[in-house]
């Protein structure tokens, strides 16, 4: 089998894209913690349910950003092919 330098770079880019998506671990844990605390807050004070939900969703959407940066890096490696 004959692998050219170009193919080798594409293969390594795909591996790098997979590694970049490890960034998804952090937001997953963070959003889970936020949801858990949100559930606890609703349990303590059921009257403030709508306020708690909107604050929780806003915080989760901001916390998601680091994972999305990983996604952007992976997509650039896969489709834009900066090293090819």
């Amino acid at each position: 089998m004959n692998i050219s330098g170009q193919d080798f770079i594409y293969g390594c880019s795909a591996i790098g894209a997979g590694l970049a998506m490890i960034a998804g671990i952090g937001p997953g844990v963070g959003q889970g913690i936020a949801a858990g605390h949100g559930a606890a807050a609703v349990g303590r004070n059921p009257g403030a349910r709508s306020d708690i939900t909107s604050t929780m969703l806003l915080g989760q959407a901001v916390a998601e950003t680091t994972g999305l940066y990983g996604l952007v890096v992976a997509i650039i490696l896969m489709f834009v092919k900066p090293f090819g």
């Binding site: 969703l57 806003l58 959407a61 901001v62 998601e64 950003t65 999305l68 940066y69 996604l71 952007v72 997509i75 489709f79």
Partner: protein
């Protein structure tokens, strides 16, 4: 500009090529989507204007919807900006409607308009311009000396933090919408025909409607938070 497989397609396509100042430029699917959404918003705005000019004490359906929207906008801006809210309510309302319609455009057969970094980065840049203008207007020269606080050593970090704002809010919106577009493109491109009927509606509900509404809200809230920092 092809996708992964033979039928998967989630890329931006060029439609008309033209030359400007020696550059080769394209009118893309994003441009078309932008024009359609702007026309829709214009028609809605004119209709709302006509409805409110002939407003009655007992509101009809359309007048009710418009009043509900304006009340929600006032509540949202008042919550963060306080007594300065009336100055920015126009911008926030326009931003909210435009991003919301862009995010939902994937439901109507267009390629989601905000899944193009050109669109979201421009929105981020407009926000950045407003924030900097407010900072210079309200603090004068202190807007620049504020970068050296609390320690002069922190100047590079403060500068990067200032310029990271538009990039971070635009990338957040872009990446959320792009992930939705890619998931939908993969599903429609790779699944057998039976799985394409009915089942994708759940994916559309999450990727387009839920994610789109949340990200619209987040973009507007963060814009207001950044503006509020400079007041």
């Amino acid at each position: 500009m092809g996708g992964g497989g033979s039928e998967t397609d989630f890329m931006i396509h060029g439609i008309v090529k033209y030359h400007l100042f020696g550059q080769e430029l394209w009118l893309t699917t994003t441009t078309v989507g932008c024009i359609i959404i702007t026309a829709t918003l214009l028609i809605l705005g004119i209709a709302a204007n006509r409805a409110l000019k002939r407003a009655s004490d007992v509101p009809g359906t359309f007048q009710n919807i418009v009043e509900l929207g304006v009340e929600m906008l006032e509540k949202m801006t008042n919550g963060i900006l306080g007594k300065e809210a009336y100055r920015f309510a126009n911008y926030i309302g326009t931003l909210f409607l435009f991003i919301l319609f862009c995010n939902l455009s994937g439901l109507f057969g267009l390629r989601t308009v905000t899944a193009d970094f050109g669109v979201t980065f421009m929105l981020g840049l407009i926000t950045f311009g407003i924030v900097q203008y407010q900072g210079i207007k309200n603090h004068g020269f202190g807007h620049f000396t504020g970068l050296f606080k609390p320690l002069p050593v922190l100047f590079p970090i403060n500068l990067i933090g200032e310029f990271a704002n538009p990039i971070s809010i635009s990338l957040r919106l872009f990446a959320n919408m792009l992930s939705g577009v890619i998931i939908m493109g993969l599903w429609y491109g790779m699944m057998p025909i039976l799985l394409k009927i009915g089942l994708p509606s759940a994916l559309h509900a999450y990727c387009d409607v839920f994610s789109g509404c949340i990200q619209t809200y987040v973009f507007c809230m963060l814009t207001m938070v950044y503006i509020n920092d400079k007041l």
